[in-house]
Structures are given as C-alpha cells and as structure tokens.
C-alpha cells in the first residue's frame, strides 16, 4: 500500500498544479468557500480553489503577518477575519507560497459557516470584476421542506450559473461518483479520529489537523479515500509518547495554523490533546437524501457553524463522552464570530457535567493575536486544575 505521506504529497502537488495548469488550458477556475458543494462544480469540470485553505498555508509558512500588513487594511485588521486579510494581502505580496493561487473566473460562496465569506467574496468580485454566486443556507435543515426546496432551487441556479459562464453541463454520473467518494471519505475521516477513542492514543491530534487538507482540496475523489485508508493502517499502534494514564484533552475550535504543532502549550505523557473537534466539523452527513442533490443539501446545510446552540452543545458533549475526555481547551478565535457564540455556554454546560474547560483567546491564522506567555500561563493553571 502506498504510504499516506506519498499520497498526501501527490494530492498537494495535484491541487496546486491543477490550478496552474487550468490557467494555461483555459479551464474554468472558481474560488470557493470551505463548505461549498464542490461536488456539483467538479461534476461540471470546474477547478475549485480555496482561498481559506491557501490562507492556512500562508499562515503555516510564517507569512501571515507580512501578508496581513500587505493587505493595506490598517486598523480594520482588528475587525476582519484573518483568512480574508491574508487573501487581500496576496494582491500586493510578492513572495507567495507556491506562487499564489491562479486567477479565478468566478466566485462561489456559502453562508453555512459564517457571513464573512460572502462579504469577503463580494468585495473580491467587485475588485476582480468577475461573477459571484452566493448560496444561502438559512438554517441547518432536517425535515423543513420549504427550506430544502429553497436550497434545491439555489443549486439549480448554481448549475445554470456555471453553465452560463463555462458552457459546461452537469455530468450526473460524475456527480454521483463525487458524492459516493465524499460519503466514503467522511466515514474514513471519522475512523481516523476514532483511532484516539481510547487510551493510549494512536495518532497525534496535530497530525489529524494536517490530514484535513485532502478532505478539502481533493473532495469527492478516490485518492482521498486511499489517503485515509493508508493513514489508518499506519496508525494501528499506540504512539511512543502516549500513555494509558494520560489526562485526555479536547481542543475545541480552530487550530492555530501558525504554530508548528497547531496547538499551544507543551503537552506530554501526562496531558495529551486527543483531538480537535474542528476537524470533525468536516465529517458531513452525505447519507440522508433521496438523490445526490438532496444528499448535498443535507450535508452542506448541517455544518457545525450553522447549527443552533443546543445542538452544538449536545454534539460536543457526545464527543467528550465518546472520546473519554477529561478537560476541554476552548479556542476563542477572534477571526470567527460565528464560532465564538458557543464558547461561554459550552464551558458552562461542560462544567455542569464535571468536565473542566478553559478559554484561550487568540486567532486561527494571525500570530499578532497570540501571546505565548499568556496562553501558556492559562494552560499551566488549567493543568493544575485538572491535577486536583
């Protein structure tokens, strides 16, 4: 079996090369937001590029500060999402990782994660003078027929929009294939997390964070499934540094991409981050629906950030139980207003169940909002709490 490392390298190269090649071949390129139903786009031969994912790469390669400065947003850097600031910075920054993303032909955003993406893409559409399509997911749908129909109509309009701008038709067989692989990839992605369900852990939580990229960049392909299968088979045995007696911690929310190991603090055998629930947010439900489009409606309207507050609290509570968590570190990520909504309620509810939680204020991509000393101090005192 090919190693996960080798498959990941190929996925990475293919993603960035496909973008560059598409530019040369005049293949249409769309910038999309994290939870855009790209299965539809890919079934219409549109190359999908994720500015958010690229902002992660820029942050991880230590360029976030300079790029945010290049964005020329000045004092607005306090107000805006750091992914968008990094993206605005690409316009004026010369040393872009991988030479930057190729220029898009169209922009497609969804508000199922936040409203920022739509504001950001709207501004981008104005600047680049290219077409924009916004998919509105008013709420996470289960059986609300009128909202399902509303989203379905928007998907029809999306298909028409792509047709109008590319002259490409939807290939139903390709769509079905995409949905099948997305479904399988989600099952495998859950299994990756489940490697750490019981002590000792099998895979470092930050490695799971690193393994998220294929789920985004190569969604709906067999290669993603191969990657997760390889990853699972390589991590069947406990980590060298893991212990059955470790205090098991859950990281709630976005990782800090600018840190080498994505989380702050020095964790050791005594205290281990078992998983980051952010990576589980990508485990979408592709199984509920009468056909492929209907399945996509369920999957993409039911994103974590689109859920009502009690559903979020219940879900994290389940994760805490299933993964035998002893304490939770909540990341109050100043870039994401939507993700901030659940922090205080979650901490209160966890405390009612005897699970201590600590809140750390920082940012997912902008190191300017990270104070190492303060964060370490807070984690240290949290460790003391957990010891007692």
């Amino acid at each position: 079996m090919e190693s996960s490392k080798s498959i990941l390298a190929k996925i990475f190269a293919e993603y960035y090369l496909s973008g560059a090649q598409a530019g040369k071949d005049k293949q249409p390129i769309a910038y999309v937001t994290a939870f855009t139903p790209v299965e539809i786009l890919r079934a219409m031969d549109v190359i999908c590029m994720y500015p958010e994912s690229y902002a992660v790469v820029c942050s991880a390669s230590g360029k976030a500060k300079e790029m945010i400065h290049s964005s020329g947003m000045g004092s607005f850097a306090q107000d805006l999402c750091s992914y968008s600031l990094i993206d605005f910075g690409t316009e004026h920054y010369e040393k872009l990782p991988f030479g930057g993303l190729p220029e898009p032909d169209m922009l497609i955003a969804a508000n199922n994660q936040c409203s920022t993406t739509f504001l950001w893409f709207k501004l981008l559409a104005q600047k680049k003078n290219i077409p924009l399509f916004i998919i509105d997911y008013p709420i996470a749908v289960e059986d609300q027929t009128s909202i399902r129909e509303y989203i379905a109509r928007q998907y029809e309009s999306l298909i028409d929009f792509i047709k109008q701008h590319t002259a490409h038709n939807l290939n139903a067989q390709k769509l079905s294939e995409q949905v099948t692989y997305s479904t399988k990839a989600c099952d495998l992605w859950l299994k990756v997390h489940e490697l750490n369900k019981r002590a000792p852990i099998r895979i470092d939580a930050y490695k799971i964070v690193d393994a998220l990229f294929p789920m985004i960049a190569a969604k709906g392909t067999k290669r993603v499934c191969d990657y997760y299968e390889a990853l699972i088979s390589e991590h069947q045995h406990p980590n060298d540094a893991s212990s059955i007696d470790s205090v098991r911690l859950l990281w709630h929310g976005y990782p800090m991409w600018f840190l080498a190991k994505k989380f702050p603090g020095d964790f050791d055998e005594e205290f281990q981050i078992v998983l980051d629930d952010y990576t589980l947010w990508w485990n979408l439900d592709y199984k509920s629906g009468k056909d492929d489009i209907d399945k996509l409606i369920t999957a993409y309207s039911n994103t974590y950030l689109n859920w009502p507050i009690y559903k979020k609290i219940d879900w994290v509570g389940e994760v805490v139980k299933e993964y035998a968590i002893n304490g939770v570190i909540c990341h109050a990520n100043r870039s994401c207003r939507r993700a901030l909504a659940d922090i205080v309620p979650l901490r209160k509810e966890l405390s009612k169940c005897g699970i201590p939680a600590v809140i750390i204020e920082s940012d997912m991509a902008n190191p300017d909002f990270y104070s190492k000393e303060q964060v370490n101090l807070r984690i240290e005192s949290f460790r003391d709490t957990l010891r007692t």
Partner: protein, 379 residues
C-alpha cells in the same frame, strides 16, 4: 398643536433617554396586544402591526447599571454587546417577543446567546433570504406567511388580507412621507441633518398614526419656511445603525449640513413601497428584497454601484462621513466597496469608528471631523 421644537425634542428623548422611552412605551394604546421588539430592516413591521402587536425597533441606549458581569467576546459589534448587556439587565422584559433577522454574524451570536442565556422575551428568527433576486421572492413570501401565523399566535389576533392591506397602506404612507422629507433636505436646510435623523429614528419607536401626523406637520412647516444656507458644507453620512444624535449634531456644528444618508435608520428604511394589489406576501417580500440594500444582503454589485454613483452625483456633496460601529464587519466591507467609487467621484471620505453607546465623541475624532469639514470648505 405642538411646536416643531417640541416634536424634535420628543424624538431625541425617545432615542437617547431610556426612561423616557420606556415611559412612552408603557403608555401605548390598549388596542395593542403587546410589544414586539425586532432588529434590522428586513423584518416587516406591517405583519407585526396587522397581528395587533406594536413593532418596536431595538435601537437607542439603555440602562445597564444593573448589568451583571457578563459580556460577549470581541469582535462582536458594539451594538450587539450593548443589547446583550441591556437584555441581561432586564431592559427588554416589557416586550412580548423579539424577532431576529437572518443577518450578520454578530446578530447570530446574539440570537444564540438569547436562546441560551436571556431566554425572555421569547425569540423568533425570520429566515429571510440573503440573495436579493427574483428567485428568492417566493421563498421569502412563504417565510412571511409562517411569520404571520407566529405573530397571530402570539397576539391571539387573526387578520385578513384586507386588514393587512390597511397596515401596509399606513407604512407606505410613512415611507412616502420620509422620502418627501429626504427629497426636501437636498435643497432645504430648514431642518438640521441631525434633527432629521432623530426624526427618522424616532419613527422606529413611535406609534404609527402619531408618527405620520408628526411627519406631515414637520414637512409642511419646512415647506412653508424654505431655507437654503449655502455656507454649510454638504455632507452625506453612511454606515449601520447611527442613533447617536450628539455626534451628528457635533458634525453639523463645524459648519456642515447632512443632506442625505445611507444608514440603516435612514434612507434604507424608507425606499420603495409595498404594492397593494395581488399577493400581499409576495409584494412585501419584493419590497424588502429590492429596497435600498443593506450590506448584509447580496444584491447586484453592478446595479448597486450604478445607483450609488447616480445618487452621489445628484447630491453635489463636499464629503462623506462613514460612521461605523466598532467590529461591524458588513460595514467595513461596505466601506471598502464604496471607498473607490467615492474617490473616483472626487469626494473626500472620513471613516469614524465609534462605540455604539459612546455618547461622548473623543477629542481625536472631533479634531478629525473639524479638519475634514475645514478641508471640505476649501474644496
């Protein structure tokens, strides 16, 4: 008949004095089944009123002295933080219910905290679409029908289409009068811009019949006393909810007149009427989707840009002051989108970032305003 000064004083008090506003609201006519609080320009007051409820826009300032040590994380906008603190201090306990829009993330955070922590009064979310296009009309109309059923349940008052049409007529009258006021202000400086915004904003609190009467009286008075002070610099204000009368008054005291605005509690509220023939819910949906858009709505970039260029060209402006509330993300984006257009049109722009409840303007901001108007005078 009350004097104009008396009416304007009432408007200012309603916005800035919480006790005055509360006393006014506790005295509303018995015919109402309760007060429905709501946020944003996308909640149709017509439907709330038709159900026998009193629509009250959540604006202005509140008493938060009893406020417990609770707060929302930054960067949630300062308006939402103020509302949250006020709600924690029971400032909204007199409301029967409260309606949230499908709007910005700050309001979505507040909606979730309402459900978790505030709980009372009961909250409802109107899931209006964010795409302002024809394909969203039917969906919005359906949501409005669901909303109407909820409001009827809340008040126990059923209403027919004919009764809904009556309230639509009343709100169309308000919009028409306000548009008349806006048109007049372009060439008539009888009413100070700050007073006009206070008058406009108080309408979101005042009883509708009283408000329409008040508007008629002020418009007639202004028409009778037409005045055009050419020494005043013509300024437009832009931004989200701008209910800080003191700040607007200070801007004008430097020798300016606010001739127009693009703010939530301003021209965006009164553009376009609801058609009264055909399916009323569809008509309401159409009006709210296609009125002058808020940045939280996805309207056509090209159409908006064209309309904005035409509008600023007609106004003969000497400057635009963009008053944003700290951490109001949609308006930072809107500012960035409009800045280029304004610059291309040769219009100077001043961006002020303020706290919603910051009644005292900082010395630094006052200096910036003064020099901005000074420069406008030279142009």
């Amino acid at each position: 008949m009350p004097t104009i000064q008396h009416l304007l004083e009432k408007c200012k008090n309603l916005i800035s004095k919480p006790d005055y506003r509360r006393a006014y609201l506790l005295d509303i006519p018995q015919k109402y089944q309760g007060i429905t609080g709501y946020f944003s320009n996308y909640i149709p007051e017509e439907i709330i009123a038709a159900a026998g409820l009193y629509p009250l826009r959540i604006i202005g300032f509140w008493n938060v002295s009893k406020s417990p040590q609770r707060s929302l994380f930054n960067p949630v906008c300062s308006f939402v933080r103020d509302v949250f603190l006020a709600a924690c201090s029971d400032e909204f306990s007199f409301l029967r219910n409260i309606v949230f829009p499908n709007s910005c993330d700050s309001l979505k955070v507040l909606r979730q905290m309402w459900e978790y922590e505030i709980k009372k009064p009961k909250a409802y979310t109107l899931l209006h679409p964010i795409n302002a296009d024809d394909s969203s009309v039917q969906y919005f109309a359906n949501q409005l029908k669901v909303f109407a059923v909820e409001m009827k349940k809340e008040s126990g008052v059923d209403f027919t289409d004919a009764e809904l049409k009556k309230t639509i007529d009343k709100y169309n009258q308000t919009r028409g009068l306000l548009r008349q006021l806006y048109d007049m202000r372009k060439t008539n400086t009888f009413l100070a811009g700050a007073d006009a915004v206070a008058l406009m904003t108080a309408g979101l609190i005042l009883e509708r019949d009283e408000y329409n009467t008040m508007l008629r009286q002020i418009i007639n008075e202004a028409l009778r006393n037409h005045h055009n002070d050419k020494n005043l610099k013509r300024i437009m204000i832009m931004g989200p909810l701008t209910d800080n009368y003191a700040l607007l008054d200070k801007i004008e005291r430097f020798g300016a007149i606010i001739v127009d605005d693009d703010i939530t509690n301003g021209s965006r509220y009164c553009s376009r009427d609801v058609e009264t023939t055909g399916d009323l819910y569809e008509n309401i949906a159409r009006r709210y989707l296609f009125a002058d858009p808020s940045p939280t709505l996805n309207s056509s970039i090209k159409t908006d840009e064209k309309a904005f260029r035409r509008r600023i060209a007609e106004l003969d402006l000497q400057g635009v002051i963009y008053i944003n509330q700290k951490f109001c993300e949609p308006h930072v984006h809107n500012y960035l989108a409009k800045l280029g257009i304004l610059k291309q049109s040769g219009i100077n722009v001043l961006m002020l970032e303020i706290e919603h409840a910051g009644l005292d303007t900082s010395e630094r901001d006052l200096l910036r305003i003064e020099s901005f108007i000074e420069i406008a005078k030279r142009n």
